[in-house]
């Protein structure tokens, strides 16, 4: 979303407001000066025996105040401020549409699933009390415990890591070592490396060596470069901060490791790193503006949009939100669906099922691949799964 226009408008308002404020203050100061001057005059006369025409003094004051003309001075700047404020309001309305109802579909939502998604979000954020309270309010407290327990363990590990205690994390890694290795994760090495560095920093060289030979040696062949660096650290026991390896002591390493642990933990649970709710909201924020814009243009055709099978406009989503491959048939130019899946032909090219059926006259005859000289038998085509 382009926010610079709003920022500029806001800056203009603040500028005008400051100007108006200073002009008002200026006028007030001048008025105060005039009044104080008259008061001084009156006071000095009271202290002497001189006669004074009060009426004349007050008339002079009135004339001075008219000359200052505070209202006309303030009026101009106030008008400019009001104008800037009005423009800002309009710009705000233009950019931030408060009514998003035009851009959503009336979809039947399973409330139970929605509650589960919300509770899951709370639990994986570590907001256990809120999650429990929410689940009790919606009357689903029984399923809360099952959903919560793995994340409780995760946050206990993360909390310990915040206190520079890796024991719970190492125990978890040891228990799940095989699964982690299968998924290609090297977090076991990272955790053991961090523990090794911690031991070294405490100045215990023999303990560090023993730890390395017990816990790091299994990685010595697969991660040789890492092990070489770590073993090199032994030369700087107790003074690692002044060594070529001082980067290993950076606090950011703990943060990165905690992130990685969170990622791997969720992976073992068969869940994505980000909660479905946060992904949905983040993706929604990205697609709402173009949809709203489109719906404003197509204001009269709401019913048509409600019944469409796909979005009426191409909406670009960032790579992080692209979870599934999409196949568009090069012959029919249509997107593949469950009923019309992509099919791999014997030559290696891919078309949609409908196109193959059409070209093979319902699988009754051979046909030529549109991309190469191969003759294709529809019966030999295999469905592709992305």
């Amino acid at each position: 979303m382009e926010l610079s226009a709003i920022k500029d408008a806001f800056d203009r308002v603040t500028k005008k407001q400051k100007l108006s404020c200073s002009k008002t203050q200026e006028a007030i100061d001048l008025i105060r000066q005039e009044i104080e001057s008259v008061l001084d005059t009156l006071q000095s006369v009271n202290n002497t025996d001189h006669e004074l025409d009060y009426k004349t003094v007050l008339n002079e004051l009135k004339a001075s105040l008219l000359k200052i003309a505070p209202l006309s001075q303030m009026e101009g700047t106030q008008k400019e401020l009001n104008l800037a404020l009005t423009k800002y309001g309009k710009l705000h309305e233009k950019h931030f549409n408060p009514d998003i109802s035009k851009a959503y579909r009336n979809v039947d939502i399973d409330i139970h699933t929605l509650n589960q998604i919300i509770a899951n979000h709370f639990y994986r954020q570590g907001l256990f009390e809120i999650g429990d309270h929410f689940m009790s309010v919606v009357g689903e407290l029984e399923s809360a415990a099952i959903m919560k327990s793995p994340f409780l363990e995760m946050y206990q590990i993360l909390e310990a890591m915040q206190n520079l205690n890796l024991e719970p994390a190492l125990n978890w890694a040891a228990t799940n070592g095989d699964k982690l290795a299968q998924s290609g994760s090297d977090i076991v090495l990272k955790l053991n490396s961090m523990q090794f560095v911690k031991i070294l920093q405490n100045g215990s060289r023999e303990e560090a060596l023993h730890y390395a030979r017990t816990h790091l040696s299994p990685f010595a062949t697969s991660h040789m470069t890492d092990i070489q660096k770590l073993m090199g650290c032994l030369l700087w026991t107790g003074k690692l901060d002044r060594s070529p390896y001082h980067a290993l002591l950076s606090a950011s390493n703990w943060d990165k490791l905690a992130e990685e642990l969170k990622r791997q933990f969720c992976n073992l649970l068969g869940q994505s790193y980000n909660s479905p709710l946060s992904v949905t909201v983040a993706a929604g924020v990205q697609v709402l503006p173009p949809l709203l814009k489109f719906m404003n243009v197509m204001a009269g055709k709401k019913h048509e949009w409600q019944s469409m099978n796909q979005l009426p406009v191409l909406v670009e989503l960032d790579r992080e939100f692209q979870f599934h491959s999409i196949f568009v048939c090069p012959v029919s130019k249509e997107q593949a669906t469950e009923d019309n899946p992509p099919m791999l032909m014997s030559c290696g090219h891919v078309l949609c099922k409908q196109s193959i059926l059409k070209m093979s006259k319902n699988s009754t005859k051979m046909f030529k691949c549109p991309y190469c000289p191969f003759d294709i038998d529809a019966a030999q085509c295999k469905q592709l799964y992305f």
Binding site: S217, A220, M231, G232, L234, P244
Partner: protein, 214 residues
């Protein structure tokens, strides 16, 4: 295929030159008994002070080859105090030989102590960092012989360090670091390779091994 002998058979080679070449090779490699036999047989001129220095060099060379680097260092410093002071690379290689010996003897705590006190100071220079990491990585293995750095435990590696030390001592004694024999063979090999290329032969490049067999 060999070069036409007519191109070189008329070149006169002085026997004395050949004797000197062989003698310098034997002295360089500390083959003391062979040197004495050779001088006795050929009546070649005996180089001055060579025996005493050769004895010392031989002992140093063998200590290095056996992995007893500390003894090699001690004797080297007796022979020429400033050799190792002026040659940090050689000093590092010798100290690392001792470290390897400790690792092979499974004296890991001692090896670590030695590395920290003697090898550690080299770590301040980036060029030694990589080597240091290689050596230190040996400690991660219960059987360093089976580690990817096993070559550091090999006889070939010790031979390499012993050779470097021997050459450094020879240079210090104002003797050639490389024997005339080595240089002649190297030069001859290069010349033959160049001639082969110029002749545009399709066959394999000149090989000294094959030539000596023929």
């Amino acid at each position: 295929m060999d070069l036409d002998p007519r191109q070189y058979e008329n070149l006169a080679v002085n026997d004395n030159d050949i004797h000197n070449i062989v003698l310098s090779y034997l002295i360089h490699n500390c083959y003391k008994e062979s040197v004495e036999s050779f001088i006795a047989c050929t009546g070649a001129k005996q180089p001055t002070d060579y025996l005493e220095d050769m004895d010392k060099r031989k002992r140093i060379f063998h200590f290095a080859l056996e992995g007893n680097a500390l003894k090699a260092i001690e004797l080297t410093e007796q022979l020429a105090k400033d050799i190792l002071e002026n040659n940090k690379d050689l000093q590092f290689d010798l100290l690392s030989l001792h470290f390897v010996e400790l690792v092979c003897s499974r004296k890991c705590t001692e090896a670590l102590e030695f590395a920290q006190t003697k090898l550690g100071p080299f770590g301040k220079e980036p060029k030694y960092m990589e080597k240091l990491e290689d050596f230190m990585a040996l400690l991660a293995y219960k059987e360093p012989e089976k580690s990817p750095m096993f070559h550091l435990l090999s006889l070939e590696y010790r031979q390499q360090v012993a050779d470097s030390l021997n050459r450094a001592i020879l240079a210090h004694l104002n003797l050639p670091s490389y024997t005339a024999m080595e240089r002649l063979i190297q030069q001859a090999t290069v010349v033959r390779q160049c001639l082969s290329q110029e002749a545009g032969k399709d066959g394999p490049p000149f090989s000294l091994k094959d030539f000596l067999k023929s």
